[in-house]
């Protein structure tokens, strides 16, 4: 059983599983967003978590002091995601019946005094946070390792946990993509959200039904592409950034045979049976064509589809192309992952001469 879980936790399998679970969650949010489901899920998961914690290797990784925040964030996100779905399900059921969302009932629109209503809530939150931090600080001492030694690198050398999603992307992309371009797209994309999402509905209340596209996209990026990758990078990556299952001992001598092939090598050597051309642009021509097609042809083509036409009609051309560019930037990660797993594809464009590997 433990071996089966170790086997399934490998991103090759767990990433598609997470994606499918995500789709099921969003599709059946009205079933998931009920109190019965929440109680059932908690009751069902408690023995599983307890059983997980009986394993020494699993305890070692989750109780490492700097990993505690990730345990906390997993619990909080599970709870708050369920809670959001619960509120969305309530509101969407009301909206279907022609009623207003809960936040817009006359009772909730009524104005109340800041003192004592809001000040009291804030005080309680502050006291709660203080108690939580002090207890956390007493139980877990801040770790301190050996003094800095620039000549000896620990293995694995990991970035702070909140950047481990980016470090996990390094498996699939070169640093200029994983460390600079994709984070840039994330930041610009986040800031662009209010300007490309012109849907006036869902302002100030929980709803999925009235803004499905925004919800589906954001939640996928946030839960699967960001949080899930951080969990993988923290808990499942050991020495040499090799995959280790949750019950697996971090054996430094674990050997993983990995041989990845560039698209140009597929093209010239495998498919055309020719030597690699000397001209580097000609050598990488297929990858360049595919990349240009990805970022130019797909937007132009999708603008002609029914789906694209509807968005352009609602938001205008400029917003549409920014949106589709950000969407393609986001989907480039799962696409590259799947290509790596299915075909051992290393780079679509491999131009180490220009430090341009994609």
């Amino acid at each position: 059983m433990k071996e089966f879980i170790n086997y399934m936790a490998d991103p090759i399998r767990s990433f598609p599983i997470m994606t499918i679970l995500y789709i099921l969650m969003m599709k059946y949010y009205r079933i998931i967003g009920t109190k019965k489901f929440a109680i059932g899920a908690v009751v069902a998961s408690l023995p599983v978590v307890a059983w997980f914690c009986m394993d020494a290797n699993f305890r070692a990784i989750i109780l490492w002091p700097d990993n505690i925040p990730i345990n906390i964030i997993i619990i909080l996100i599970a709870w708050l995601t369920w809670y959001s779905l619960y509120r969305c399900a309530q509101n969407d059921a009301r909206i279907e019946k022609g009623e207003c969302p809960i936040e817009a009932t006359p009772e909730n629109r009524e104005k109340v005094w800041t003192w004592p209503n809001l000040v009291y809530t804030e005080l309680m939150c502050m006291i709660g946070a203080t108690v939580f931090l002090v207890v956390w600080a007493i139980i877990f001492k801040a770790p301190l390792e050996e003094p800095a030694n620039p000549t000896w690198a620990p293995n694995p050398a990991k970035a702070p946990w909140y950047f481990l999603g980016l470090q996990e992307m390094l498996v699939y992309f070169d640093p200029w993509m994983a460390g600079v371009v994709l984070p840039g797209i994330i930041v610009v994309g986040l800031m662009a959200i209010p300007y490309i999402d012109t849907n006036p509905k869902g302002n100030g209340y929980f709803t999925i039904k009235e803004r499905p596209l925004a919800m589906w996209m954001f939640m996928y990026g946030w839960l699967v592409l960001w949080i899930y990758l951080i969990i993988v990078g923290t808990f499942l990556r050991g020495p040499n950034w090799t995959f280790y299952g949750p019950f697996e001992y971090w054996d430094f001598h674990k050997v993983v045979s990995e041989y990845n092939v560039n698209l140009s090598e597929f093209l010239w050597i495998k498919w055309l049976n020719m030597p690699m051309p000397g001209n580097i642009v000609l050598r990488e021509i297929l990858g360049i064509i595919l990349t240009v097609a990805y970022i130019v042809v797909i937007p132009l083509w999708s603008a002609k589809t029914k789906w694209g036409k509807k968005i352009i009609e609602n938001t205008g051309q400029i917003r549409y192309y920014i949106f589709i560019f950000l969407l393609l930037g986001m989907t480039s990660l799962p696409i590259k992952m799947v290509l790596r797993w299915l075909f051992s594809l290393k780079y679509i464009i491999a131009l180490p001469e220009w430090e341009l590997n994609l």
């Binding site: 959001s84 936040e103 909730n108 804030e122 301190l144 390792e145 909140y162």
Partner: protein
């Protein structure tokens, strides 16, 4: 007539009246005065919609982020008394802090608080997205919030180096190696090789963005000093200013979001 308690006598003293210039906040007039007349409380409006005070709607994550930021400022200031940002002293100062300060949990609160602030700021963004609160008229404030989120990560990241242990320098080495690959600006990034005139290399490991960030070609003493100043002075100042803008705009954009 009700009997006067000790509290009532205190409320009637000149000292009390000089500090709190209103009566007990039990009626409408004084409830307005207590919020409007207090420099900390006047961040709030005097009244707000009931949906905006419910924990189920706000999750209090933005407020908690601000509170943890203040807690980190205080604990950070206390830590600065014990800490010297040089390769010679930094690590030993942390050891001394551990061994010579009785019952000290300031470093723990600072470290776990830093993690907690990253969590609360992410969950704040999550809540704001789920309730569509970035929609007009709050588009600009969402952008300010994204910048604050990035700055929170940078604050935490620069602080990571300061204990000067193996975890610190190698985490920063991994992080800053990414800067090396910046297109055109990092010597290992695409396009850097194009910036070459004859034999003169314009972007090299001696002048690229990673060099500017670390003050050197590897994580050494200049990097420690830079990260210390960024962590303790520069980024907190920028964050402070942006928090002011963020809170101001929450008020000016109509308070906590609610259905239109």
């Amino acid at each position: 007539m009700a009997k006067k308690g000790v509290a009532d006598y205190i409320r009637e003293t000149q000292v009390w009246k000089s500090i709190f210039r209103h009566g007990p906040p039990t009626d409408a007039r004084n409830r307005a005065a207590v919020v409007a007349g207090n420099v900390f409380l006047h961040l709030h409006p005097i009244k707000l919609k009931r949906s905006g005070v419910q924990l189920g709607y706000t999750w209090c994550m933005g407020g908690l982020t601000f509170f943890i930021f203040l807690a980190l400022t205080v604990t950070g200031l206390l830590l600065m008394f014990y800490y010297r940002p040089t390769a010679e002293y930094a690590y030993n100062d942390i050891i001394a802090l551990k061994e010579h300060v009785p019952l000290g949990i300031m470093r723990e609160i600072h470290r776990w608080g830093a993690h907690a602030m990253v969590i609360t700021v992410w969950l704040h963004m999550f809540r704001v997205f789920m309730t569509g609160s970035y929609k007009p008229p709050r588009e600009f404030n969402w952008g300010v919030g994204v910048v604050l989120l990035i700055l929170t990560l940078l604050l935490s990241f620069t602080g990571y180096l300061l204990p000067w242990d193996q975890l610190a320098i190698w985490a920063i080495a991994v992080g800053s190696n990414m800067a090396k690959a910046t297109p055109f600006l990092g010597h290992g990034g695409p396009g850097a090789a194009l910036a070459q005139i004859g034999d003169f290399v314009m972007v090299s490991d001696k002048n690229d963005v990673r060099f500017q960030l670390l003050g050197g070609r590897f994580v050494g003493e200049p990097a420690l000093l830079r990260f210390y100043i960024l962590h303790c002075v520069f980024i907190p100042l920028v964050v402070g200013v942006l928090i002011a803008v963020h809170f101001w705009r929450v008020r000016k954009d109509g308070g906590i979001s609610a259905p239109l």
